[in-house]
């Protein structure tokens, strides 16, 4: 008996059983295939769903990709044929690569752990899953454990293994980035893209598909565009407002990674001597500052790509810089430094 046949004999075919299912049979099928209690699989899905919804997405994907008991092909195949599988694979790789960066800027350990588990799990499954032979029209008998003399399909197998390896690397990069290691999101993403490239290049010698390069290349283009715009994804995500009243309330820098950072300085007591410095950084989104009247405001505003609007005028384009002075001379000085990578800086009174 060949190794492949032994693998088939050891592990039942991955399918969604018609009996003993709770919802669509995904957990029951996985439990049977992996020879573990389906309850444990269900707990895993529930935990992943609670940690940001990844479990729900994985369940839906599994319903589409795992065939029902007694049927040859999964739902995805029935919908539009083999192209759907390829499209789904590309989407999965894009999501995996995006998650590598996304996990680095998301809040909370659960977010990182959830994505890491999904990426490592899917990648490991693709790499380690025994190779199945897809039956074709004209086959007189499908392969059984006893008769399995399977001709290898190196091209398809290499593509799957390389895709799995890339997801594994994305998961490892996510973990390394989350663990700190003194690397910022751009450095981790750059390393992940290099590793993905090396994996694809190695896969070329085993007949892997060139389409594997597309998802990470797409991510590389997006990351390079963000780098060109000078986007720094530090700080929280979402809409954040601050209304400082005294100089001691001012942090060194107000930061928002993605979203809107709004600083209302109208209540701020400006020092009569010297300058009061306020710095706002937004990676992607809007940096909005309201300055008080009767104060001399030095505005230094920058948008990597987007628009800068101040009481003195507005500019747009790429690498937009404006330095404006508004307010009466001789009044207390407010020194404002507002920068956004992609988006808008808006200073109003």
């Amino acid at each position: 008996m060949s190794a492949t046949a032994e693998a088939h004999a050891a592990a039942p075919r991955l399918e969604r059983p018609r009996h003993g299912r709770a919802i669509a049979g995904v957990c029951a099928g996985l439990g049977r295939h992996l020879n573990i209690d389906p309850v444990l699989v269900r707990i895993g899905f529930v935990i992943l769903t609670a940690l940001g919804g990844a479990g729900f997405l994985a369940y839906v994907a599994a319903v589409l990709l795992i065939p029902q008991e007694g049927e040859r092909y999964p739902v995805a195949h029935a919908l539009t044929g083999r192209r759907a599988g390829m499209a789904l694979g590309i989407v999965l790789l894009v999501v995996g690569a995006a998650a590598t960066s996304g996990a680095l800027i998301g809040d909370g350990l659960g977010h990182v752990v959830g994505w890491s588990v999904v990426l490592l799990g899917l990648g490991g499954y693709l790499v380690l899953r025994p190779f199945d032979r897809v039956p074709r029209g004209g086959d007189t008998a499908f392969v059984t454990a006893e008769t399995a003399v399977v001709e290898p399909e190196p091209r398809g197998h290499a593509t799957r293994v390389v895709a799995g390896a890339m997801l594994l690397l994305a998961g490892v990069s996510t973990v390394i980035g989350a663990a700190g290691a003194g690397l910022d999101a751009q450095e981790v993403t750059g390393i992940a893209i290099i590793l993905a490239g090396a994996t694809v290049a190695a896969g070329a010698f085993f007949g892997a598909s060139a389409w594997l390069a597309f998802p990470p290349l797409l991510i590389a283009a997006v990351v390079a565009a963000l780098a060109a715009a000078g986007v720094v994804l530090r700080g929280p995500i979402g809409e954040h407002s601050w209304t400082p009243a005294t100089a001691s309330d001012l942090p060194k820098t107000y930061q928002v990674a993605i979203g809107r950072g709004r600083v209302d300085l109208r209540q701020l007591q400006i020092a009569p001597v010297g300058a009061t410095h306020v710095t706002l950084r937004v990676g992607i989104g809007d940096a909005v500052v309201r300055v008080p009247r009767g104060v001399s405001v030095e505005i230094h505003a920058h948008a990597g790509a987007g628009r800068v609007v101040t009481p003195a005028g507005k500019s747009n384009g790429t690498d937009v810089d404006r330095t404006d002075h508004v307010g009466p001379a001789g009044a207390p000085v407010l020194d404002l430094d507002a920068r956004v990578g992609l988006g808008q800086v808006k200073v109003t009174r």
Partner: protein, 58 residues
């Protein structure tokens, strides 16, 4: 096993892009919008050229 040139070209393009992004993060080089368009076009051209050469060899 036969080498797939287009896949190799895609892998090399990725390695070059990743290195560029990494060097920008380190401050060694600067990624600019002016260079990004030609770089993407060059990457796509590299893969298409390799794909064409691959098809001619069949």
């Amino acid at each position: 096993m036969r080498l797939r040139l287009s896949t190799l070209a895609g892998g090399i393009a990725l390695i070059l892009f990743g290195t560029w992004i990494l060097l920008d993060a380190e401050g060694t080089v600067h990624v600019s919008f002016a260079a990004l368009g030609p770089a993407l076009a060059a990457a796509a051209g590299l893969v298409l050229l390799a794909s064409g050469l691959e098809g001619r060899g069949r």
